[in-house]
Amino acid sequence: MDNKAMALLAAGLAMGIGALGPGIGIGYLVGKSVEGIARQPEASGDIRTTMFIGIGVTEAVALYALVIAILLIFVA
């Protein structure tokens, strides 16, 4: 395999493995938020706000992987 092929393979792996953690994280986050809203529907507004902030922060991890993958594809 030449360098380009290795870089492409690495990009795919980076994106796939990098999406694992945030996927699990967002799953937990939304699941727990739904639980919270079901228990206390009157607090749904606050819970939803916090959930979106949490999703934004968690999602950033996957996006770092995306940036690395793009760098690997286009720069390496």
């Binding site: 902030i53 934004g56 996006l63 770092y64 940036v67 793009i70 286009f74």
Partner: protein, 292 residues
């Protein structure tokens, strides 16, 4: 971001030409000076490149839309609001209550609310106009120079998002120092109950986390918009890849895929503007009230 549009790809498909399209070129096109009537709008002030690129035009466009819309609505504001005024008031109240009101109160809220609202409206508008196709380039087709449709979002360019994140970064520390004094502010970075030996370490950790807040704020917005535009382009190009008539059956589900992804990107555009604005509010609020 991706300047390849419908006309561009369809004419290529019609020609069947082996014209090589390199996605990497698009990263350069985004920062390349645009040219109007043969004149390249390239300026250089000292070491700083002040060229008018596609991203700059989109930033101007978003700023113009937000400015003109808000001024036009505010000048004729009535007790009995019109539809436009209702829309703007709903956004205003949303930012005031849900974004700023959640983290800041009183004088701090009054000081920083305009910044957060401006940030929210600007990012929202530049994300949304990024989804509209415009005539961004030209395409040679059978000797004719045709305008090519393409989509581009200013916020899918990392230079723009880093500039926005830097503003929040600077304002965070400015607000913190103004509210707590320079010594008090940096003292607040480490908990007062920590042992004296650990304090430099904790200070360093907090310093690194402040830098990463800046990086993550910029990269989150940029990568979300970039990924969204790439996804839309991938689905569009899938529909043009079908060169066999037998496979045309697949066109209908693929077109639905394009519509679904585009709708999802509208959601992402709104959510990302919201997240950027609320995180800015949380950071600034946290720097003002350090006793968390």
């Amino acid at each position: 971001m991706i300047g390849l549009g419908l006309i561009a790809s369809s004419s290529e498909a019609a020609e069947g030409a082996a014209e090589t399209f390199k996605p990497t070129d698009e990263f350069e096109h985004a920062v390349k000076p645009i040219s109007i009537a043969g004149h390249e709008l390239s300026f250089q002030i000292g070491p700083i490149d002040m060229s008018v690129s596609k991203a700059v035009v989109y930033v101007w466009l978003a700023a113009l839309i937000v400015g003109i819309f808000c001024i036009a609505v505010a000048r004729v504001a009535k007790i009995l609001p019109t539809r436009k005024q209702m829309a703007l008031e709903a956004l205003y109240e949303f930012v005031e209550d849900k974004l700023v009101g959640a983290v800041m109160h009183g004088k701090a809220a009054a000081t920083w609310f305009p910044y957060i609202l401006t940030l929210f409206l600007f990012i929202l508008v530049s994300n949304l106009i990024g989804l509209l196709p415009f005539f961004l380039g030209t395409e040679e087709w059978k000797g004719l120079t045709l305008p090519a449709l393409g989509t581009f979002a200013a916020t899918s360019n990392i230079n723009v998002t880093v500039a926005l994140a830097l503003m929040t970064f600077v304002f965070t520390h400015f607000a913190g120092i103004k509210a707590n004094g320079p010594i008090g502010y940096f003292k607040g970075w480490v908990p007062g109950s920590a042992p004296a030996v650990l304090k430099p370490v904790l200070f360093l950790i907090h310093f690194v986390s402040e830098i990463f807040r800046l990086v993550s704020l910029a990269v989150r917005l940029f990568a979300n918009l970039l990924a969204g535009h790439i996804m839309i382009l991938v689905f569009y190009s899938l529909t043009f890849m079908l060169s066999s008539y037998v496979l045309l059956v697949l066109l209908i589900p693929l077109e639905f895929g394009v519509i679904a992804i585009s709708l999802f990107e509208i959601f992402v555009a709104v959510i990302q503007a919201y997240i950027f604005a609320i995180l800015s509010a949380v950071y600034i609020g946290g720097a003002i009230n350090q006793d968390h």
